[in-house]
């Protein structure tokens, strides 16, 4: 199965791990992420004002590209996923935006939201299946207590994102379980990390990250995973509470699938010691 893939700017730069492990794991699980040509930055935030149009066009271009290939569009970064999914919803349901965007882009055939937008995790859950992943795990993460950090953008607004239960999601926990680790459920996993305010307002982001970390630690998480480079940055760099390591979800996937030679070496060493 081949999917159109929208990596987004951060995955090409600071979050190369997120991208690299995603592609490696995809191949191991039997699907291919085909990067769409000439994609542009999604804008990183969905323009909430209903009269905004120009800032939505790059998402429409990406969506149309996938449509022309007849493929579903897969994203990974929470921000890209949020923006592209919501713009796609606008193209389906908001006549004014649809008309104006199409007038602007002058496509051969107008784009009306035909493309299905999937998050990488949704591909794992709905197309590959967590049971299949469990079977393909060669290096189960046994004994590790991993907390999922969802953040806000994957889940909300749930009416459009339709990703999971917005207040008590389970997809990442199921994912962690499939990799052989123990998922740690903690209530602040769907609270905001501070997002973009960390640029100009470190203390505010710090307060929010501390709440998330305290909640995770209190419930016994020893490490966290996330899908979002900005969440990862904030969780690692903001706040003053006791921290646990934060990695991308694709990294533990690749690890469990035995695609990380360096980790394997470490693990082997541990075994030798034990």
């Amino acid at each position: 199965m081949v999917y159109s893939y929208y990596p987004g700017c951060t995955l090409k730069n600071k979050a190369q791990d997120l991208d690299r492990y995603a592609r490696m794991s995809a191949e191991a699980l039997g699907f291919t992420l085909q990067e769409i040509e000439e994609w542009q930055c999604c804008g990183a935030v969905y323009p909430l004002a209903s009269d905004e149009i120009a800032t939505k066009l790059s998402a429409v271009r990406a969506l149309n590209d996938a449509k022309e290939k007849g493929q579903d569009l897969v994203t990974l970064c929470s921000a890209c996923h949020h923006v592209i999914k919501r713009v796609n919803d606008d193209m389906q349901n908001v006549e004014d935006i649809r008309t104006r965007a199409n007038n602007y882009l002058k496509l051969e055939e107008p784009y009306e939201g035909e493309t299905k937008v999937l998050h990488y995790l949704e591909v794992l859950r709905d197309r590959v299946g967590f049971d299949t992943i469990k079977e393909k795990v060669t290096h189960p993460l046994t004994g590790r207590k991993i907390g999922a950090y969802y953040g806000c953008m994957l889940l909300r607004p749930s009416s459009i994102m339709a990703f999971d239960e917005p207040e008590n999601p389970t997809i990442m926990e199921d994912f962690i379980r499939a990799l052989g680790a123990e998922p740690v459920v903690y209530p602040y996993r769907n609270e905001c990390c501070g997002g973009y305010v960390s640029l100009k307002d470190k203390p505010l982001a710090g307060t929010m990250v501390d709440r998330v970390m305290e909640s995770a630690v209190c419930h016994g998480a020893e490490e966290l995973i996330t899908a979002c480079p900005l969440c990862l940055y904030n969780l690692r760099n903001s706040g003053s509470a006791k921290k646990v390591p934060v990695t991308y979800l694709t990294e533990i996937l690749a690890e469990a699938l035995g695609l990380l030679p360096e980790k394997e070496a470490e693990g082997g060493a541990e075994h030798a010691e034990g």
Binding site: E165, P166, N168, P187, Y188, S215, C218, H219
Partner: protein, 661 residues
């Protein structure tokens, strides 16, 4: 030749403010056949009816049109007026120029024009009306009450006390309903069981009342005065005539893992069980889904220990058919599912509970024997938070649009009882509005605040987060304009109530109207609050709308009076607007019979005089006592022989013509 009179009502200013009634009178007077037209302030008043009567007598009218409010309101009033003046009551037509005109339009020109057209349509129709005579039908002197909660019990008692036979059909193994699950009742703090149990006993002992528990209504046919109801008596697996109610079977039953519904799943029960100690009848049932004997064939302990030999594993469901003159729906309510409200962590922490669960925890017969404790570690709480309006007053898809009405009062009750019994427990209530209309209700709530020191904070809770062995509550205090983040030991959710989900199925069987929230619709929101629009169907309790116990009991009595009023009649007048086949056109094809939902059409050989040719033909005959006048057959009839009296093809076409003129 018809002589028609037209009467245009002002309805005070309800009609006259937006419809120029004089112009309607003028326009109506010009219509062919109209020999009299006038307007009056209130046509439905004595004086108004007198005007109609005088006009009929003086102008020798053969039919009248009243331009007024909806026929659902006053059609009968004007029919009776016509009858008193000596013309057939079915020579009356109503033009609805209030609900369908003056109340929805603002522009006088537009509304008047429409009123004229509606009047014309009614005139065109009445010109083709024919006198009709209603038939009569019998009344079975027995009533059915569906649901054995306080609403159903009270309705049954009141009907029975008036001397009529009444049956209660209750789905669960015992009567008692939600009220039997409550610990105390507001605003007097009576023990719920103490006031309910005598009523249950009285109902069980009443010679006019038959109670079918563990039974469900399966099928309903017939109509007002003569309903035929199939009742499924589910197999109890216990012989009611032999069981002594000693309870040994329940003690010895080895299968004890089933969630106890009566305790809202807070503990478990045996597979053979009575829901609670005061259950009526005090005869257990075997829950076959969870019984080892039924699942694997290996067990049979209850049969071994039963001295009376009452256990009967081979018992089958039994279906009985009973005839009733009237049916009362009293199916009650449940709390909504909280799966969509996970910000309150109901599914994440056992210490977040609903108010109904708290009732069971506070009750001496409940899972904690009446000790207030957390379900997670069975420690007594030091602090409790109550959250109001969980799922009520919601415009989104998660909850209910309505106010559940009872939550403000029971929350005050809970808070007060806890502060009374456990003064060291700190109690905080987060509310949006405190709604306590009712006798001694607001005083009750104020007592909770002033005498018992319950903290009431105006503002909704945003999130409840389990943190260690505490719950972190994040809320707004709107009056102090601050955000509260507090730790507490237990959170109680005032969960919205909704009609029992089964009611939709029952409403469909009864052809009783139901609204989008699954509340049964009353015939008139103000004036006929306990009657369904379907004749012979009455409403009692929360199935009609949220209400507390006193209101439920009052409504139950009202429904009973309506039933008694119906059963007291020797016979009922039937709707004469029934179908009728013209033997000249009927070719006896049997198409109409197939679409009739009442089996009212049969065929017989008749001698027909078809333009001088006399021959015997097979033609359709409508039993007017069975026909309810839907008209399905009239459209199905390929030869146009079938027509509906009062809504004939010609009449409706005349209305269409008048509107499109």
């Amino acid at each position: 030749m018809q002589r028609i009179g037209v009467f245009v009502c002002h309805c005070g200013t309800n009609i006259a403010a937006t419809v120029d009634v004089k112009r309607v009178v003028e326009a109506a007077a010009k219509e062919p056949g109209v020999v009299h037209a006038e307007d009056y302030q209130y046509m439905c008043s004595e004086a108004g009816q007198l005007k109609i009567r005088e006009a009929i007598e003086q102008k020798h009218l053969t039919g009248i049109v009243v331009c007024s409010c909806s026929p659902r309101m006053h059609e009968n009033t004007f029919r009776q007026a016509a009858k008193r003046a000596g013309i057939n009551p079915y020579m009356v037509e109503i033009a609805n120029i209030r609900e369908h005109c003056s109340w929805i339009h603002k522009d006088i020109e537009e509304a008047t024009e429409k009123a004229v057209i509606l009047a014309r349509a009614a005139i065109a129709k009445v010109m083709l009306n024919a006198p009709l005579t209603p038939g009569t039908s019998q009344v079975v002197k027995r009533a059915l009450v569906i649901g054995g909660g306080i609403a159903g019990i009270q309705t049954a008692l009141d009907i029975a006390d008036a001397g009529y036979e009444v049956d209660i059909v209750e789905k669960t193994p015992s009567i008692g309903g939600r009220m039997s699950q409550l610990d105390k009742t507001f605003p007097t703090l009576d023990c719920s069981a103490c006031i309910l149990t005598p009523k249950m006993v009285e109902a069980a002992a009443h010679e006019k009342i038959t109670i079918y528990t563990y039974s469900e209504v399966e099928k309903v046919s017939g109509f007002v005065g003569d309903f035929h109801v199939d009742i499924r008596k589910k197999a109890r697996s216990v012989d009611m005539s032999k069981c002594t109610g000693c309870g040994v079977c329940q003690e010895k039953c080895p299968s004890r893992k089933t969630p106890n519904e009566f305790n809202r799943g807070l503990n478990t029960r045996s597979a053979i069980y009575t829901p609670f100690a005061q259950a009526i009848p005090n005869v257990p049932v075997i829950d076959r889904e969870h019984c080892t004997k039924f699942k694997t064939g290996k067990c049979g302990v209850c049969a071994k220990v039963c001295q009376a030999g009452a256990i009967d594993y081979d018992q089958q469901d039994e279906i009985i058919t009973v005839d009733y003159g009237a049916i009362v729906v009293a199916t009650g309510f449940d709390t909504i599912k909280l799966d969509k409200y996970d910000e309150y962590a109901y599914n994440q922490s056992p210490d977040v509970i609903t108010s109904l669960e708290l009732e069971r925890i506070m009750n001496a017969a409940g899972p904690t024997k009446g000790h207030l404790e957390r379900m997670s570690d069975h420690k007594p709480p030091k602090s409790m938070v109550f959250i109001q309006c969980v799922g009520s007053r919601c415009a989104d898809k998660r909850g209910k649009s309505y106010c559940s009405k009872i939550c403000c009062m029971y929350t005050a009750k809970h808070a007060m009882l806890i502060r009374d019994k456990y003064p060291d427990v700190d109690v905080t209530v987060f509310y949006i509005d405190v709604r306590t209309p009712g006798k001694n209700f607001d005083e009750f709530y104020r007592r909770a605040v002033e005498e018992y020191g319950v903290h009431y904070i105006k503002g909704q809770v945003g999130k409840v987060a389990p943190q260690g062995d505490k719950l972190l509550v994040q809320a707004a205090d709107l009056l102090d304009n601050k955000q509260i983040r507090m730790e507490t030991d237990m959170v109680v959710l005032a969960t919205a109530i909704e009609p029992n989900p089964d009611v939709r199925k029952i409403a469909t069987m009864l052809t009783a109207s139901i609204d989008t929230n699954n509340f049964l619709t009353e015939s008139h929101a103000k004036l006929r609050p306990v009657e369904s629009p379907t004749a012979g169907i009455f409403l009692s309790g929360v199935c009609q709308g949220p209400k507390d116990i006193p209101e439920t009991v009052a409504q139950a009595g009202a429904a009973a009076v309506k039933v008694v009023g119906l059963l007291a009649k020797d016979h009922l007048v039937t709707n004469p607007c029934t179908a009728k086949a013209d033997p000249i056109f009927c070719n006896g094809c049997s198409t109409c019979e197939k679409v009739c939902p009442y089996g009212a059409i049969s065929y017989e050989d008749q001698l027909v005089n078809d333009h001088g040719i006399r021959e015997t033909r097979r033609v359709a005959v409508v039993n007017s006592a069975l026909c309810q006048g839907c008209g399905a057959c009239t459209v199905a009839c390929p030869s146009g022989a079938m027509d509906l009296q009062g809504f004939s093809n010609r009449q409706i076409l005349a209305e269409v013509d008048a509107i499109c003129r």
